[in-house]
Amino acid sequence: MITLDCRGLRCPIPVIRLAKAMPGVAVGEIVRVLADDPAAAGDIPAWCRMKGQEFVAADGHAYDVRRIT
């Protein structure tokens, strides 16, 4: 699993990192984004919705996203 450590970075940077990582992720694979900016809690699921990817789960500052397209 790919992990993107975006702790200490403010939105939109964690979402930008996630988007940039996507081409290197196989369909079906999960990316974990570590982000402590409070905006990430809403913005990562919103990104998944807008870009047609699956938001799997959030656990504290860890957000799991599955590439489905």
Binding site: C11, P12, I16, A19, P38, A46, M50, K51
Partner: protein
């Protein structure tokens, strides 16, 4: 030699939801009242009586426009002060019933700050920013509920709230409902069924520094502030009477123009909603597209720093606001966008007013895509 830097173009102020430019009627009334209404209305001499007349006339005008009785209206130093007086005074009057405040997740921060003084039940909204009425019905019928608070229409995304239906559930439960009408008063018809209501003059083109509180007859309200021995409870201290007079005159003028202004501005909001979605990739237009305020639209641009976009627009002469966390003092995203579950970064709120022209909107729509593209390019997107 003249400095010829980046030409900003004619400025376009598009942040009426924060403060609308002064209505010409407000300006006239303010100048007249400064000359005539400076005395203390409580004093028993000619200048005081004149000030009292102005105060009473202003109260009567506001009452008439809002469809309430003059003795239900008081003036406060701001919309925030009026909203907080509504919440705190409404809770105070219902101490025996309990101390719980039920409020929507999208209230103005002034209400949320007042809510911190008591126990709360927060009721969520859907993706469009509309209150969850089932959850509301359950919440207001709970034990120990003293007061309920529902913003009339979202100040951030424009979605109208189902106030009349929400008020029905409150009535069934015997709970008074406070409605923050800051974005509605002077722009759209007021909802019905509420017990307390607040508004803010500088949102409708009145001067800053005037809030309005309405407490309907039979609603128990206890001032949260030390009171003097005057007959009616209200804001402590001397009112800014000239501003109050200007607020009342401009409310009447704005309400009189409201239908025509809504018919003019609402299609411009539709145009912004459609054009931004068509010309800016990866954008989320936020809020209810139909059941909304006539003058306000919000959208969020993926991969864009909201503060950077505000500054870029400002350099081109456009004043807008943002709910993105980088533009807030707490570095948290707007609680409204958060509650809706929509994208919060790259957020822009555009709000129009009576001086906004079609040309202003077209200029804004023309520069926005390149500014967003420029910020994304810098971020490597």
């Amino acid at each position: 030699m003249d400095y010829t830097g980046d030409p900003a173009g004619a400025p376009a102020y598009l942040d009426a939801a924060t403060a609308a430019p002064l209505h010409p009627v407000a300006r006239e009334a303010l100048m007249a009242a400064l000359a005539d209404g400076w005395a203390d209305p409580a004093r028993l001499y000619a200048a005081g009586r004149r000030a009292r007349q102005l105060h009473d006339a202003a109260t009567a005008v506001v009452a008439e426009v809002l469809g309430v009785r003059p003795d239900e209206v008081t003036f406060w130093p701001s919309g925030t002060a009026a909203a907080q007086a509504a919440v705190l005074g409404g809770l105070g009057g219902r101490k025996r019933a309990g101390r719980t405040l039920v409020h929507s997740a999208i209230e103005h921060s002034s209400v949320l700050h007042a809510a911190r003084t008591t126990e709360v039940v927060e009721v969520g909204v859907d993706r469009l920013g509309r209150l969850d009425l089932d959850a509301w019905a359950t919440a207001v019928s709970g034990a120990g509920v003293a007061l309920a608070s529902l913003i009339g229409a979202s100040h951030e995304v424009g979605t109208m709230q189902p106030v009349t239906a929400a008020a029905g559930f409150c009535a069934d439960a015997g709970v008074p409902l406070f409605v923050d009408a800051a974005q509605i008063a002077g722009r759209a018809p007021l909802p019905s069924g509420w017990s307390l209501l607040s508004a803010s003059a500088h949102k409708w083109g009145g001067p800053p520094g005037v809030g309005v509180l309405v407490v309907r007859k039979g609603v128990r309200w206890l001032s949260p502030y030390p009171q003097d021995d005057l007959y009616r409870p209200g804001s402590p201290g001397t009112l800014a009477l000239p501003e109050v007079v200007a607020a009342a005159a401009s409310l009447r003028a704005a309400a009189g123009e409201a239908r025509a202004e809504a018919a003019r501005l609402s299609p411009l909001v539709d145009r912004i909603r459609e054009r931004v979605a068509a010309t800016v990739p990866d954008v989320e237009i936020v809020g209810d597209p139909v059941d909304r305020l006539p003058h306000l639209v919000t959208f969020s641009c993926l991969y864009v720093d909201g503060e950077a976009l505000l500054h870029a627009l400002d350099r081109r002469g456009f004043a807008v606001s943002s709910g993105s966390s980088c533009t807030s003092s707490t570095l948290r995203p707007s609680h409204v966008l958060e509650a809706m579950g929509v994208l919060s970064h790259g957020n822009v709120r555009v709000s129009l007013h009576r001086d906004t022209t079609e040309t202003d909107v077209e200029r804004f729509l023309a520069v926005l895509p390149e500014l967003v593209a420029g910020i994304r390019k810098e971020a490597g997107m």
